[in-house]
């Protein structure tokens, strides 16, 4: 599904190398987790995948199925099936959450040559998805993320994911700022979307999210590289011993 090959990235403004050769192969139907200490390049990877400005790819490439992802504009990546759940979802005053979601869904459908979804069908779809995430219908009427609590913002990200039905979901520190109950709700939302045709890349600093979203593969990232790859046990090892032991071991 997602193939990252020897990816090198530097920050344009600071002329600083952040990613130094990332290799990753996420197959359809699987959940991969990337863990790592602060500053290891996890969030940069998420941003580069989504097409944010300010990063320069100096070597390597990324393919989503058979498409060269790095050639595409952010909106084309979305239409190709990539979705990034933001660590810090952006507040957009004046744009209603519902209008936003419907415009986004229709833009993606249009890009794929599909018919726009009718107002009635959309309403049905969003009510159904919102209900399972315990999202108050009032939240749908409010401007995007404005005045939302941390938990509401993250649930809103998952709601967007559930409506847009992407193939490749990247979750950037979705657990940050969540209490246990909110985390379970978000994880349930993600788990409900797991299926054969869809893959997940879950970026997290802590292991606790992975108790709720069980990964198939766990990678440890440090200093812009994947330094160790293993099964779910690797996450537990981090939880018990911290990153220091693993980093020493691979050094």
């Amino acid at each position: 599904m997602l193939k990252i090959n020897d990816l090198h990235v530097r920050l344009e403004e600071e002329d600083k190398a952040i990613l130094r050769g990332v290799d990753l192969d996420v197959t359809a139907g699987s959940v991969h987790a990337i863990m790592g200490p602060n500053g290891s390049g996890k969030s940069t990877l998420a941003y580069v995948l989504s097409g944010r400005d300010g990063y320069e790819v100096t070597r390597g490439g990324v393919a989503l199925e058979d498409q060269d992802l790095l050639e595409l504009e952010p909106e084309e990546r979305a239409a190709a099936g990539l979705f990034l759940a933001f660590q810090y979802p952006v507040e957009i005053p004046g744009v209603g959450n519902m209008t936003f979601l419907r415009t986004a869904l229709n833009a993606q459908r249009k890009a794929c040559g599909d018919e726009e979804v009718s107002a009635a069908d959309f309403l049905k779809l969003i009510r159904d998805r919102a209900k399972s995430l315990q999202i108050d219908p009032e939240m749908l009427k409010r401007p995007v993320n404005v005045g939302f609590s941390g938990g509401e913002k993250k649930r809103n990200e998952i709601l967007q994911m559930a409506v847009l039905e992407p193939k490749m979901c990247v979750l950037d520190e979705t657990d940050s700022g969540l209490d246990v109950d909110a985390m379970r709700l978000v994880a349930d939302g993600v788990n409900a979307l797991r299926d054969e045709g869809r893959a997940f890349l879950v970026i997290t600093h802590y292991q606790r999210l992975l108790n709720h979203i069980e990964p198939d593969v766990v990678h440890i990232m440090a200093d812009g590289r994947i330094v160790k790859t293993g099964g779910p046990d690797l996450a537990l090892e981090v939880e018990t011993n911290g990153y220091a032991d693993i980093l020493q071991e691979v050094a």
Binding site: E73, E75, A78, P89, I92, G94, A104, A107, Q108, P143
Partner: protein, 428 residues
């Protein structure tokens, strides 16, 4: 103190080809007084306090600079709304294109007919509200208008009228120089909506005087725009009685020069006035909102919301003053003027002013200028919106606070539709 010789010459030359129209004695007297006011004030110059942001040159010339008539194939504004249509062609009333002027709850009359009567309600409005506005800030083009306007409509509303009156200004002659004067009296308990649209002329000088009696309500929505080269100087005067309401919204798209002045005066307690404007400019566009609100009564609420989206050399100006006179306690005043600059060539100039002589009031004002939020833009793109669509969505969101001042959903939908059309035509 007289005017400097050069300015006096220009001031006289500006009206040399104009004649005070015939009318009843009171009308002639009012017009002559307006000529005197105009001559005493003189044409504006760049050093005048309220003309520093806007060059008056093209308004000062005796002949109007030409303006090409443009057709975007855009549907006329308010087309889907049941309304009483009153049409002017280059500043001249066109009865053929207009609806029958009889409407329940309304008295609608042409200006020249109303000013011919010795006894008419108009006597207490025509030029009266304009004259009240001339202190302390001179508005010479309004005095000129009162003196020389040969056409216009006067309206008296005696009931709640659900059908809006739509003044449509067609521009067909590239050299037309139109002067129109409207006077409106909203009687106690009556409710009237006036819609305005169209570029009107190469150069357009318009005054609207609105006298709202106790408990009356007046709604105004204007779609100003289209022809790139047109110039306009407009004045809206309002005198508001006890528990009355005045709501005005203006959309301005295109126009090389627009100066919209408003002078709102609260004379009765517990009245409400909301004035809002949304202006979008690309290229050779200069838009100036100059608004004065005078609180001379207790417990009145005034709100001014002005938003401008500018790019490619377009200039926006806002001058807004809230004057709270001694004794105007419990005044609630809010003023916001903001611009969204879509590139580095656009310019926004603002001068908000509060002058308060009462001690128990709540007044706030703010003015900001900024670029589009790149984080929001990226967020929208990451959800599949192409950049131009994402930008349009953010622009509309920025303008929303002003557009929300329109109470009618149908009219507000019409305004949104026009804005979306403009944004699509002006995508980069």
């Amino acid at each position: 103190m007289g005017l400097p010789a050069r300015r006096q010459e220009d001031t006289e030359a500006r009206i040399a080809h104009l004649e005070v129209p015939d009318g009843a004695a009171w009308a002639t007297e009012m017009r002559k007084q307006a000529v005197s006011r105009y001559l005493a004030m003189g044409l504006p110059g760049r050093r005048d306090e309220y003309w520093r942001f806007t060059r008056p040159d093209d308004l000062n010339t005796p002949q109007a600079p030409s303006a090409a008539v443009v057709d975007f194939g855009e549907a006329p504004a308010f087309g889907g709304i049941d309304r009483l249509r009153i049409v002017f062609r280059d500043g001249v009333f066109d009865p053929e294109a207009s609806d029958d002027l009889s409407c329940e709850g309304l008295e609608v009359e042409r200006l020249q007919s109303a000013t011919a009567h010795e006894i008419h309600w108009l006597k207490d409005v025509y030029g009266v509200l304009e004259a009240r506005s001339q202190e302390p800030v001179a508005r010479p083009f309004a005095a000129l208008n009162t003196a020389f306007a040969t056409d216009g409509i006067v309206i008296r509303a005696t009931e709640r009228v659900s059908r809006p009156v739509n003044l449509t200004y067609l521009h067909e002659n590239p050299d037309s120089d139109a002067i129109l004067h409207f006077a409106i009296k909203v009687e106690s308990g009556a409710d009237l909506t006036v819609l305005e649209n169209g570029p009107a002329a190469a150069r357009f000088n318009k005054c609207m005087e609105v006298d709202v009696a106790d408990g009356g309500a007046f709604h105004h929505v204007r779609a100003q725009g289209r022809d790139h080269e047109r110039r306009a100087v407009t004045h809206m005067f309002a005198r508001l009685g006890k528990k009355s309401a005045f709501k005005s919204f203006t959309l301005t798209a295109n126009g090389v020069l627009t100066r919209n002045e408003a002078f709102i005066e609260f004379v009765g307690d517990n009245a409400v006035s909301h004035i809002a404007g949304a202006a979008v400019g690309d290229g050779d566009f200069h838009h100036d909102d100059t608004v004065f609100v005078v609180h001379d009564a207790v417990g009145c609420e005034s709100r001014q919301v002005f938003k401008k989206v500018l790019r490619n050399g377009a200039v926006g100006a806002f001058q807004g003053k809230i004057l709270v006179k001694e004794g105007a306690q419990k005044t609630d005043g809010y003023q916001i003027s903001q611009s969204l600059l879509l590139d580095e060539d656009a310019q926004f100039l603002a001068k908000p002013e509060l002058e308060i002589y009462a001690d128990d009031v709540a007044c706030s004002h703010g003015s900001t200028s900024g670029a589009i939020d790149e984080d929001a833009l990226f967020y929208l793109q990451s959800r599949g919106l192409p950049r131009p669509e994402a930008q349009d969505l953010l622009v509309l969101a920025f303008l929303a606070e002003a557009i929300e001042e329109i109470e009618s959903e149908d009219i507000s939908r019409d305004i949104y539709g026009r804005l979306k059309g403009w944004l699509q035509r002006h995508r980069r």
